[in-house]
């Protein structure tokens, strides 16, 4: 190829590309509602990081969408104004640290956490050292909150999900022979599996087989499925993200194996996954604090707005993002936060004092409270998938 031709093609590609980037539209951080209203009003800059690209992007996007709806609503109310800026961390701790630093340069006042666990372990440690208030929507590992007074979770911790699942299965008598398929190179999956096994032993549940997979082998589950089938498992526990879970459901269906499937919050998102036949997920039980079919006015308003704006039913991550913004709004209003007269460490202290004493009603639970260790206390709930939607059990 001669040089002229090459440059012509290259430049044309760049032009098309920059047009595409402009029409994306969602790239700009949300601005305060309008100039007239925000005059003299308190403006708080909220930073967030999450996977907006890559394999875990569905979580980051959902949190971002949910949070943006909440930010619009908050700003329309005319009180404290929020500026929201979410940076991509591609679900990689190293990139998350870079994203965090970019937010520090942007001048954030507090942080609406990191969406996934492994990157959140790094950003929460930074936020602890630098004294930024940190509330994560969905990073469920205990490593995120351990020993950090200013880090809070909107979601359940991993151990909580493991014990919660085992207790739920035992109480509702969902299965007598349990199989587990888990990803043994992933901290989320391993954390839940460990506490599930402990609690199952304490409750006398019989675990007939445990099958594992890794990042490299997450595409073929025929061996694991046939082992579960051979062991006669009538309930298979899937503590993993929705992507491998969708393949397991697909491949089990192909061999005609239909136990009760039980997933945790990572399973959320399976219904909106592109190219996934939702009929395969029929009857799958998911332990999640949120279901979109909840009839409360708060939830109906959120679901409607979300569908209008993004064209899909919100999942738990979107609801977590929405709740995070409102919880921060409530705490900031009550604590009288004003970045004009307070630096981020003063804001952090005021927010921490408020968070450990307030009660918050949101989409993912009523009367939520936070302990000094950063864990949330709310009721776990299981939903079952029927006709392609979550239905409360």
């Amino acid at each position: 190829m001669n040089m002229k031709k090459f440059f012509a093609i290259f430049l044309a590609a760049m032009m098309i590309f920059s047009l595409a980037a402009c029409s994306g539209g969602s790239t700009e951080p949300a601005q305060p509602a309008d100039g007239g209203e925000s005059e003299g009003a308190v403006t708080i800059k909220i930073g967030a990081t999450g996977p907006l690209t890559g394999g875990a992007a569905i979580y980051g996007q959902a949190v971002k969408n949910g949070a943006e709806i909440a930010v619009e609503e908050v700003n329309a109310m005319g009180g404290i104004q929020f500026e929201f800026n979410m940076q991509d961390d591609t679900h990689d701790p190293e990139k998350a640290e870079n994203a965090y630093n970019a937010l520090v340069d942007w001048g954030m006042d507090m942080m609406m956490g990191t969406v996934t666990s492994a990157p959140a372990e790094v950003t929460s440690a930074d936020a602890y050292a630098d004294r930024y208030f940190f509330l994560t929507p969905s990073a469920s590992s205990t490593n995120v909150i351990d020993g950090k007074d200013n880090v809070f979770q909107m979601c359940f911790t991993d151990p909580n999900q493991g014990t919660g699942s085992a207790t739920y299965i035992s109480e509702k008598n969902l299965g007598s022979k349990i199989a587990i398929i888990w990803k043994n190179d992933d901290s989320y999956s391993t954390g839940i599996r460990n506490t599930f096994v402990e609690q199952a032993a304490a409750l006398g549940l019989e675990i007939v087989t445990e099958e594992t997979f890794t990042e490299a082998t997450k595409t073929d589950f025929s061996v694991q499925i046939s082992k579960c089938q051979e062991a006669g498992a009538d309930l298979v526990f899937l503590p993993m993200y929705y992507e491998p879970a969708s393949l397991i459901l697909n491949q089990a269906n192909a061999v005609g194996y239909a136990p009760t499937w039980f997933g945790v919050d990572g399973m959320d998102g399976i219904l909106t996954m592109e190219g996934f036949d939702t009929s395969l997920a029929e009857g799958v039980i998911v332990l999640t604090p949120y279901s979109a079919d909840d009839s409360s006015a708060l939830n109906q308003n959120f679901v409607k707005k979300y569908q209008d704006k993004f064209g899909e039913v919100p999942n738990q991550f979107a609801a977590d993002g929405y709740d995070c913004i409102y919880a921060m709004y409530k705490a900031a209003t009550e604590a009288g936060i004003d970045p004009a007269s307070m630096d981020h460490s003063a804001i952090c202290d005021a927010m921490v004092a408020k968070f450990t004493s307030m009660t918050f009603d949101g989409l993912t639970g009523a009367s939520m409270t936070w302990g000094k260790d950063g864990t949330v206390s709310k009721l776990p709930n299981a939903v079952v998938i029927q006709n392609g939607v979550y239905v409360g059990m």
Partner: protein, 360 residues
């Protein structure tokens, strides 16, 4: 005056080596001054140590790929060994050794030694293969290391180290502290890696590589690379030289890993997968095989690039790929290469003419 003459008398390789040292030192001084002056963005500051680690990785792989001429696709494995051993060591020494600098030094040494041992052991079977076979086998070893490291449990209990594989069977006493927790890796790592440590590591790597390349060993290795049969026919023990270079390369990767591991508060084995190996290979190929300065620049530029493209939001990684393709095409374009070559030749010709005149 004598020093000047001495510099002129050096051959091209030596002059390029000194240029590399000088540029690295200059970059360090400028960045360190900016950091002390407080004029540096948090984002830049946060990237300094990982950039140093990637530069050392690129130099290390360049020794294998560029100097030795063998394609290794599992280099992240050595980085992983170094990162886990080095970080576990600094974590164990946390209470008994208050000086962070000394702890980091010991961590890096342990990381380098551990990776060197693994590199030597892997080198024994691997280096008997050549070409594509070697590439595939190193790829497999990289995956094996990743899986093994992801399943190790290690704890420190009343001064004793305890290990177990696959499941947590450490049976720790209440005072015991778990350090490596399988897939969840190491957590709550104090960040003790510094830019200065990274700079020193780069300088040491450069000194080792330049000395080795200029030595008898280096000449033998390059002879083997250029013509294996001819080299063996004159009695060069190919395997011995290759395994020396491979072990040194692994040790450097281990040191880079230890630096990297001590810079983040959590460390997981899945970080060091094939993607990381390929990323480092991209640094080497882009910078030019055998060209150490090129590796340094490529590693720094390609680590900064995705961050510099944050403005593109959702299209960031796509842009990164497009730019990478463009740079690869342009830097390999025959016409541009000719132009650059012409400039270089003219300059040397000028210098020669000048040098000749002043010698008179």
């Amino acid at each position: 005056m004598r020093a000047m003459n001495k510099l002129k008398g050096l051959n091209r390789t030596a002059r390029k080596n000194y240029l590399t040292y000088a540029l690295v030192i200059a970059a360090y001084i400028i960045l360190e001054a900016m950091m002390r002056g407080g004029g540096m963005k948090a984002a830049t500051k946060g990237m300094l140590v990982p950039i140093c680690a990637y530069i050392v990785m690129a130099l290390s792989l360049n020794l294998t790929v560029g100097v030795m001429g063998e394609l290794s696709l599992g280099h992240a494995g050595f980085m992983s060994v170094g990162a886990f051993c080095g970080t576990a060591a600094t974590m164990c020494l946390r209470d008994s050794m208050p000086s962070a600098g000394l702890r980091l030094f010991i961590g890096i040494v342990i990381g380098a030694v551990a990776a060197a041992i693994i590199g030597f052991l892997i080198g024994i079977p691997v280096l008997r293969l050549r070409g594509d076979y070697l590439a595939i086998v190193t790829l497999a070893f990289g995956e094996i290391i990743k899986s093994l490291v992801g399943n190790v449990y290690m704890g420190i209990d009343q001064g004793h180290l305890k290990f177990s594989m696959f499941t947590n069977e450490l049976n720790m006493s209440p005072e015991g502290k778990i350090i490596i927790e399988g897939a969840m890796g190491i957590r709550s790592i104090p960040k003790i890696a510094t830019f200065t440590a990274g700079f020193i590591l780069i300088m040491i790597s450069l000194v080792v590589i330049f000395h080795m390349v200029g030595s008898r060993t280096g000449r033998a290795i390059m002879a083997i690379r250029d013509n294996y049969i001819a080299a063996e026919s004159i009695g060069i023990p190919a395997f011995k030289y290759k395994i020396t270079a491979f072990t040194i390369s692994a040790a450097m990767a281990g040191a880079a890993g230890a630096l990297f591991g001590n810079n983040y508060s959590s460390l997981i084995a899945s970080k060091f997968n094939i993607d990381t190996s390929i990323l480092v290979l991209v640094f080497v190929v882009l910078g030019g095989q055998g060209n150490m300065l090129g590796s340094i620049i490529a590693a720094a530029a390609l680590t900064i690039l995705p961050e510099a493209l944050r403005g593109f939001a959702d299209y960031r990684m796509l842009m990164y790929a497009v730019i990478l393709i463009a740079v690869m095409l342009i830097s390999n374009n025959a016409k541009i290469k000719d132009i650059l070559k012409n400039i270089a030749e003219k300059r040397t010709a000028k210098q020669l003419a000048k040098g000749g005149a002043s010698d008179e």
